[in-house]
């Protein structure tokens, strides 16, 4: 009897072991800024249901800690298989051999689903390094009531923009023409870049030359400083992510932000309107915007490449991508998404329209984190009155030139 039981137990154990020999895929995802654990775990569970024998181990980390988490897990030799990354990090990660090129896994049909600009943001040294998961454009969100009260029309150029901010600015009543940011954070660089691109300026041009200190860029930074005179005080302590708190009190005329924050202001009772960021004096286009994308990549340490590719394709099917964009309020990166009824709503239109005037955030920049430091120093020193725009940007250019070598 005892021998029979022992054998039975052994048999069960062996059968059990063979079932637990499942494949595990480690995935690193961010939370915050609209991304939640529940939404992302739901995707993992659905994938597991459709793929028996596969287990998705999702790890979550706050957006602000994502870069550090990526670096430390790669450094410790414990990199995940699939990583969600800001596309601006691709050059640094690719140069260090931390992620693999994905050209062979992306079929032409898949490629055709997205806007061309979208693929530009993930291309480096002639290869594609990620599949775009989230895209954003930005436009001006304005308070219709304040505009009407002061008789301000929607600005179509920089002179009108400055006038609008001046007219609404009433510090004694705590009313500010524009909300701006200057804290040492990546979003400050993006906010400045809106004006930089609007004036046909760039950090690095198509040929790889550092042009952050040319006339067009200097004008953009000088304009940023001019505008700041009609913004809330102490803009250097604000990051863009917190400006919504100011705007939703109804005390701010206008500012540049995502559509989901505009909807938040609407819910708080602000009568919200939109206008595209007007081109500057040196611009050839009427409007401009910065295109920021995040993408999903595969690490070089991964031993499950095929499974990783399957998971990425699963996450970025048309249905799943549309579901994701609608839920989180991100601009749809796939061309056909704009035909969906939800994206026809009035608050989506300006953001989708802005795509054609957009330029990618970090094209041609080899070491984004280092460039960010240099540009932030320039922006802060001009905002704080420590330096003029030309000197500040010359210093930034010196540093960026070394970083681009």
């Amino acid at each position: 009897m005892r021998r029979f039981l022992t054998l039975a137990l052994l048999a069960i154990l062996l059968v059990g072991l063979s079932f637990s020999a499942e494949r595990v895929l480690k995935v690193l995802m961010p939370i915050g800024g609209g991304y939640t654990i529940e939404d992302q775990e739901a995707i993992a569970k659905e994938f597991e249901k459709d793929h028996p024998g596969v287990k998705i181990e999702m790890e979550f980390v706050g957006w602000e800690e994502l870069w550090d988490k990526i670096i430390t897990s790669i450094g410790a030799g414990a990199a995940p298989d699939v990583m969600y990354i800001g596309s601006r990090w691709i050059p640094a990660l690719a140069d260090m051999g931390a992620i693999i090129p994905l050209d062979e896994y992306i079929k032409p049909e898949k490629k055709a689903m997205y806007y061309d600009t979208v693929w530009n943001t993930v291309t480096y040294k002639g290869h594609i390094w990620g599949v775009v998961r989230a895209m954003s454009t930005k436009v001006f969100i304005y308070n219709k009531k304040l505009f009407e009260e002061k008789g301000v029309k929607i600005p179509t150029n920089w002179d009108e923009l400055l006038e609008a901010a001046k007219k609404i600015y009433d510090p004694d009543k705590g009313i500010y023409g524009i909300a701006m940011c200057g804290k040492k954070f990546v979003s400050t660089v993006t906010q400045f870049q809106q004006y930089l691109y609007a004036n046909d300026g760039k950090i690095v041009d198509e040929k790889g030359n550092v042009v952050i200190n040319d006339e067009k860029a200097v004008k953009a930074l000088e304009f940023y400083k001019e505008l700041s005179k009609y913004a809330q005080p102490g803009i250097v302590e604000w990051k863009r992510e917190d400006l919504i708190k100011l705007f939703e009190t109804g005390k701010v005329g206008m500012y540049i932000d995502h559509v989901h924050n505009a909807r938040r202001a609407l819910e708080k009772g602000v009568d919200v309107g939109f206008f595209l960021i007007p081109g500057g004096p040196d611009s050839h286009k009427p409007y401009a915007t910065v295109i920021v994308t995040d993408c999903i990549s595969i690490t070089s340490q991964s031993k499950n490449r095929d499974l990783a590719v399957e998971f990425i394709n699963y996450m970025t099917s048309f249905e799943k991508q549309a579901e994701w964009d609608l839920k989180l309020g991100f601009v749809p990166p796939m061309v056909k998404e704009k035909d969906l009824p939800e994206f026809q709503k009035w608050y989506w239109k300006p953001y989708i329209e802005a795509i054609k005037y957009g330029y990618p955030e970090a094209v041609g920049i080899k070491d984004w984190e280092g460039v960010q430091e240099a540009v932030l120093d320039a922006i802060q020193s001009v905002l704080l009155g420590v330096s003029d725009a030309k000197t500040a940007l010359d210093q930034a250019a010196r540093i960026i030139e070394i970083l681009q070598k």
Binding site: M96, P233, S381, L384
Partner: protein, 302 residues
């Protein structure tokens, strides 16, 4: 006879082992890494560079042509730490004296409340302070304006010098409970009979403090301020959350600079250089501590 000699060693073996694993090994690793050029993004590609990383500490002048990145951060650390520790010792002593005085009603309540800054996770208290000091929504500005102490809100974290002072004060706030509790227990160990004898000899409050309290508290003050010095030198969270080392690097103390060198300056920096910075910081803090202990103990030798 041999068992008498070995038993003590056997008893402290677990502690020595823990010491070796958690202190000696990491320290050794840091010193070793400081002689290599290595990045987090490609950890297996290590290149031996000898003392190059140490030379970099003095030569890297990309952000400031006059002083190197390391030297600027070190300078900021020295001033910031001195300021914060001074605040902690002075206010800590004052707080302890207050909590020890027999005339303060509700002492037990205050003694419990004093723990609060220490108990809250530093990340949370930093975020709380960031919003408390905010020029639009902050309570500090709104109270000061209502009391007509200021006309316009003060932007605590946006002016470089102001931000330096503000982060120093927030750091002192976080460290105060420890100082107060330590000083309080020191004060309570001074026998009342000494004060009674002094009063009979005609001493007042102030001379009692300087002639009895302070000298008897010297060992406590020395130990506690030294601990505080070392801990404050490593303070990272508070500055990171309040200003991220800005504005314009005003609050970029050594811990922030070391972090930036490892994680943010991918092309300029690296773990090797960050390790070199760490090694030098440890040496400097050790030297300061030795010098501090010697100077304060000099008074003991009569």
């Amino acid at each position: 006879m041999s068992s008498k000699k070995t038993v003590p060693y056997v008893l402290i073996m677990p502690l020595l082992l823990a010491f070796a694993i958690f202190m000696i090994y990491p320290l050794y690793k840091i010193v070793e890494t400081s002689f290599y050029k290595v990045s987090f993004l490609n950890p297996t590609a290590r290149l031996f560079v000898g003392f190059d990383n140490y030379r970099w500490l003095l030569n890297f002048k990309v952000f400031n042509p006059k002083y190197s990145y390391f030297v600027t951060a070190l300078g900021k650390s020295l001033i910031w730490v001195a300021g914060s520790v001074l605040l902690k010792v002075i206010i800590g002593m004052a707080g302890a004296l207050l909590l020890n005085s027999k005339f303060l009603a509700g002492r037990k309540v205050y003694r419990a409340l004093v723990i609060v800054p220490w108990a809250i996770p530093w990340a949370m208290s930093s975020m709380m302070w960031a919003w408390t000091l905010n020029s639009q929504f902050g309570v500090v500005n709104s109270i000061m304006m209502k009391l007509n102490l200021i006309e316009k809100p003060i932007t605590f974290l946006s002016d470089p010098t102001m931000a330096f002072a503000t982060t120093m004060v927030v750091d002192a706030w976080v460290g105060l409970p420890f100082m107060i509790i330590m000083f309080l227990s020191g004060l309570q160990s001074i026998p009342d009979t000494l004060y009674e004898a002094a009063i009979m000899d005609g001493a007042n409050e102030i001379s009692s403090f300087f002639k009895i309290t302070l000298p008897l508290m010297k060992p406590v003050i020395l130990t506690v301020s030294l601990l505080s010095l070392v801990w404050t030198f490593n303070s990272f969270d508070i500055i990171w959350i309040l200003t991220r080392g800005g504005p314009l690097r005003a609050t970029e103390t050594l811990p922030i600079a070391i972090y930036n060198t490892s994680f943010r300056l991918i092309r300029f920096g690296g773990i090797g250089k960050a390790s070199a910075m760490t090694v030098v910081q440890v040496l400097i803090v050790t030297l300061i501590s030795i010098f501090y202990i010697r100077t304060l103990e000099k008074g003991e030798i009569r």
